[in-house]
């Protein structure tokens, strides 16, 4: 079916079952309701990390995803609060706006490579934070707070999406929403990597000059990939703004940009699902170490160092061996 092996299909089935039925069952059984938010965060951060992974795929180290997440969060918040849009329409709009910004910025900076690209994207994160502080439309330092919860959508009187504000508990709703968006993101990512565009990206990752010489329009591909990557960042950021019901210039900052990148490294750059696993381990791991109080950071960083020391190609390299793909 669609060229998937039965093993892959079973894996995907198990995964879907786990996140949509298994997780709620486990949480219901253990009573750890707080994990819903943590896992929702993991899903949303994994969406943004997927974008970073994609830029790695064309051989660019991207430390600028926090900038696009912040742009997405602000665009959605402004559209909902000031223009009265439905959140569900503002969500793709946030992603698209981030993508447009990425095209404009990408045109000059995507020529850069290696650490230079990494640095310029890092500076970009600061630029966006400072811009948010300075602009009137973002409300400057005061941020945008009291953002209403997503409202329902119905077509011809048939409710398609429920009204979050009318719910007793929005945790589960946000969890499912985040998971669905995450799955769509990774499905798109998987499709992209295995398309013609994906092959071209891999050739660019190896050697841009060579790719260019055999007729690949590398400038065009770079922009497209960077725009898609930033679209994911915008989506993740917008969802977060809606959960927190507030956006501040510090909602996403340099530390977040760095974390998105680390998620990709930790999961493994060679694997489509690497960033998802990396996000889970990095974000969820911090939460689990909560019990250690003031030693939390020490233990967290020690584990991180040990992992990278013994699995320098990412967590997924245990299973697939060096150089394997997916």
């Amino acid at each position: 079916m669609f060229g998937f092996s039965s093993k892959q299909l079973i894996g995907v089935g198990l995964f879907l079952f786990a996140i949509f039925i298994g997780v709620p069952l486990v949480i219901g059984a253990t009573g750890r309701w707080d994990f819903y938010f943590t896992l929702t965060s993991v899903a949303l951060l994994a969406i943004a990390s997927a974008g970073v992974w994609l830029t790695f795929y064309i051989g660019r180290i991207n430390i600028g995803q926090g900038a696009f997440a912040l742009i997405g969060a602000y665009v959605s918040a402004i559209l909902v609060v000031k223009a009265g849009w439905s959140f569900w329409i503002s969500l793709p709009a946030a992603g698209l706006f981030a993508a447009v910004v990425a095209v404009l910025i990408g045109l000059p900076i995507l020529r850069l490579r290696g650490v230079y690209f990494a640095m310029i994207t890092l500076v970009l994160t600061q630029v966006v934070t400072l811009t948010a502080l300075a602009l009137p439309v973002t409300n400057g330092a005061k941020g945008i707070s009291n953002i209403p919860l997503p409202s329902g959508i119905s077509v011809f009187g048939i409710p398609i999406l429920p009204d979050f504000a009318a719910m007793e508990n929005t945790k589960l709703a946000f969890y499912y929403t985040a998971c669905i968006i995450m799955i769509l993101t990774y499905a798109a990512l998987y499709r992209l990597v295995n398309s013609r565009l994906g092959h071209l990206c891999r050739s660019m990752q190896q050697n841009e000059e060579l790719a260019s010489s055999i007729g690949v329009n590398i400038a065009y591909i770079r922009i497209v990939i960077f725009a898609i990557s930033s679209f994911f960042g915008g989506l993740g950021g917008a969802m977060f703004g809606s959960i927190a019901q507030s956006v501040y210039p510090s909602s996403f900052q340099v530390a977040d940009s760095v974390n998105f990148m680390l998620n990709c490294f930790l999961g493994g750059l060679g694997y489509v699902f690497g960033p998802m696993l990396g996000t889970l381990v990095l974000y969820f791991g911090w939460d689990l170490l909560f019990e250690f109080g003031k030693y939390q950071m020490l233990i967290y960083s020690t584990i991180l160092i040990v992992i990278i020391r013994f699995l320098p190609n990412g967590l997924l390299s245990i299973r697939f061996g060096k150089g394997g793909d997916k």
Binding site: L14, S145, I243, A244, Y248, S250, D287
Partner: protein
């Protein structure tokens, strides 16, 4: 892989929680009070002084037999969550508090975190005591946040008024870090100064929080020759350097801030140049501190090696929570009862000499009683210690 690792981590989580739960064996039933704030990274000083104040007080209560609310005597346990000054983590922290069955939480320390946790706190029935100043947190329809200290728009005018009368201050300049909290505080300060008839000669100079040399930052401000230089929302780390740079540039006017500072840090970072620096503190000075306050400072020092003067303002939130619960034991699990009690609650202030009272205020600023009545103690730094300049009340 995904599923398996999740189940594994979930099982580990359950195991860890179980260990954590059995470790806290005590004779009395345990009353958990939460803390969500920043205890690592650049702003760690804010949260750590907060957390340690709570832990010191809790250990003190437990050592002396527990805290009696209604018919039950409780041991107090402080559950702390480090939000790394990240609003996303702050939400996770508040969820964790809900998970632990906690209804009373101190923190977060900054504006964005306090705004972000509001939905979680309100849907889970948690009262929280942030150290953040935006009025929207405390005005209706917001219901569950209680400002844990004196806001800058309350202390600022009091300080300016005092300086206008006593020092003949006519012009004022503001400097703030380029971050949400300090910028908001600066805007509030500028507004208050203008309302009092002060001439604001400079209000747009900002600095990055990671600035290491403040001379270029302050040079243009000094050119305006203000009588008063206000360091809006200045962090304890930056204050001594700013003071030092201003004095070295030849500035001779008054320097003040509306945040709490630590005398030791000022002494180390600026020495005698910090003399005359005005800041807001709690009942720290010898003439105000009650025996209980002195004992608190002593116990804090014994527990953590060194006292932090910022804790003078941070000792109160836990005391307010416990005293209010004592006034209405039903509030232990019911925040509606707590909110009803807040309107009439009154108890003696154990940390201050005289007949100061613990009560909730905020009608003027927020239209509802959503602020603890911490005495507004304005201090001046003099040769290594703070001296009381004046004491005022917030309504």
């Amino acid at each position: 892989m995904q599923r398996r690792s999740f189940v594994k981590t979930a099982m580990a989580a359950v195991a860890v929680t179980a260990i954590g739960a059995t470790a806290a064996v005590a004779e009395n039933p345990v009353l958990k009070i939460g803390f969500v704030g920043v205890t690592s990274g650049p702003a760690a000083a804010w949260g750590i002084s907060n957390q340690r104040s709570m832990e010191t007080r809790a250990a003190w209560i437990n050592e002396t037999g527990g805290y009696t609310i209604g018919d039950t005597t409780y041991d107090i346990e402080i559950v702390s969550f480090d939000d790394q000054k990240d609003p996303k983590r702050a939400i996770a922290g508040m969820e964790k508090m809900a998970q632990e069955g906690i209804h009373y939480v101190v923190g977060p320390n900054v504006d964005d975190g306090a705004a972000a946790v509001r939905p979680v706190a309100e849907s889970n029935g948690i009262m929280y005591f942030p150290y953040a100043f935006p009025k929207s947190l405390y005005e209706a329809p917001a219901s569950n946040a209680v400002l844990g200290m004196v806001a800058n728009y309350q202390s600022g005018p009091a300080i300016y008024k005092y300086l206008m009368a006593e020092e003949g201050v006519k012009t004022v300049a503001f400097v703030a870090a380029n971050e949400s909290d300090p910028l908001s505080q600066r805007d509030g300060g500028v507004e208050a100064a203008k309302a009092l008839g002060l001439e604001v000669v400079s209000d747009n100079v900002t600095y990055q929080v990671d600035t290491t040399d403040f001379t270029p930052v302050l040079t243009p401000v000094m050119r305006a020759r203000p009588d008063l230089l206000v360091l809006s929302g200045v962090s304890p780390a930056n204050a001594p350097q700013l003071i030092r740079s201003a004095r070295e540039l030849g500035y001779e006017g008054v320097i003040s801030t509306e945040t709490a500072q630590d005398a030791g840090v000022l002494a180390e970072g600026a020495g005698d140049l910090a003399n005359g620096f005005i800041s807001v503190g709690g009942a720290s000075t010898p003439e105000l501190a009650s025996p209980a306050m002195n004992e608190f400072v002593q116990r804090y020092t014994d527990m953590f090696g060194e006292y932090n003067d910022e804790s003078n303002t941070k000792v109160y939130a836990l005391e307010y929570i416990l005293e209010t619960l004592k006034a209405d034991p039903a509030a232990i699990t019911d925040v509606d009862a707590f909110q009803a009690t807040m309107d009439t609650f009154e108890a003696p202030n154990p940390f201050m000499n005289g007949d100061a009272k613990l009560r909730y205020v905020g009608m003027t600023s927020f239209g509802q009683k959503r602020q603890v009545a911490v005495p507004l103690v304005v201090n001046v730094y003099q040769n290594g210690t703070f001296e009381t300049l004046f004491v005022a009340e917030v309504d």
